[in-house]
């Protein structure tokens, strides 16, 4: 039986991110943070709507559990609210936001044993025309989650940030505390290792 939650969690084929210009996003985020710092609840809601999916995807792929990803996503936004008065628009907002998410993830890793809870068939809406083969997508997703867990943490973070964070490479490198060249190496190695994992387990 499908619950409303199960129906709501859809996986989609690759799609480009919003066509909104990056510059205006940056300005909007900084302005929104200023409003949040002054206690503007509407601005907080707007920020949540703008960033919930990139964060949810990043966290879900990092820990492999929808329930845990939702918990952590809410924790990140709670931290955003509490830290807003101290926010300084020195770097980019996304780098600041994902640094919080990284912190929450690291805490979660320490608190819990690493575990994998691959999605179930119910997580994919069979009526979604984009899901040409639900079973095939499910298998690929399970394989991806399992493969991601085999990567060293630095490679997994670099790869997932490059996919989900909307940040430029330079910003990701800064967030992770590595050089741009090293970031490229981490992502390249992660992709190669994932590819080998897929070949081995297909």
């Amino acid at each position: 039986m499908h619950t409303s939650r199960q129906r709501a969690l859809k996986m989609s084929p690759p799609e480009p991110h919003s066509s909104t210009s990056k510059d205006s996003d940056l300005i909007d985020d900084d302005h929104t943070m200023l409003a949040i710092a002054m206690g503007d609840g509407v601005a907080f809601r707007a920020l949540f709507d703008r960033w919930k999916l990139p964060l949810l995807n990043f966290i879900y792929r990092s820990i492999g559990s929808h329930a845990d990803a939702e918990d952590l996503t809410l924790m990140v936004f709670e931290q955003v609210w509490k830290s807003a008065p101290h926010y300084r628009a020195e770097g980019t907002f996304s780098a600041w936001l994902f640094a919080i998410a990284r912190g929450k993830l690291k805490h979660e890793w320490r608190r819990r044993q690493r575990r994998i809870q691959p999605g179930t068939l119910e997580d994919i809406d069979p009526a979604d025309p984009k899901a040409s083969s639900s079973q095939a997508i499910l298998e690929e997703e399970e394989l991806l989650l399992a493969g991601l867990q085999t990567l060293p943490e630095s490679q997994r973070e670099a790869l997932l940030m490059s996919v989900h964070s909307k940040m430029e490479s330079r910003e990701i490198a800064e967030t992770l505390g590595v050089s741009s060249n090293h970031l490229y190496v981490l992502i390249h190695r992660a992709r190669e290792q994932l590819k080998q994992f897929f070949e081995k387990h297909s």
Partner: protein
């Protein structure tokens, strides 16, 4: 130069990585709304719920994590005993423990399906008590 096999492997990884969750769950949206109310100090929303059962549900949606609520519910059992000076384990206690056990499962799908019927077993007096204690514990 990439061989067709290598290209196919690259495409497969790329495709898998970019297949994202495109909608948030109703649960996440509800919990954000409750958190939003709590953080913006509009937590009187809980008191405004007309029925104890609705209050508890609202409360349960606003906690940071389900395990926080589970810990709170477990505490209620001890306080209930303390307040009533009872030595036995009543059906009420068992129901609370059952609710706590479900919450500790941390499986939201199971939780959503199981919490509601569990709450149905509570009478209004117990629900009010549980809400008061949980509220104190969480906030």
């Amino acid at each position: 130069m990439n061989t067709p096999d290598k290209q196919s492997g690259d495409d497969r990884i790329e495709s898998a990585l970019k297949r994202e969750i495109t909608h948030t769950s109703a649960s996440l949206e509800r919990r954000f709304e409750a958190m939003h109310l709590r953080l913006t100090r509009d937590i009187d929303g809980i008191a405004e719920q007309p029925q104890p059962r609705q209050k508890l549900w609202f409360l349960s949606q606003s906690v940071r994590t389900w395990s926080a609520l589970a810990a709170s519910l477990a505490l209620v059992v001890g306080l209930w005993h303390f307040n009533t000076e009872r030595q036995d384990v009543s059906p009420h206690d068992l129901h609370i423990l059952e609710g706590s056990k479900i919450l500790q499962n941390e499986d939201l799908l199971t939780l959503n399906q199981s919490l509601e019927p569990t709450l149905e077993l509570f009478d209004d007096e117990l629900l009010e008590f549980l809400i008061a204690v949980s509220y104190e514990n969480i906030y």
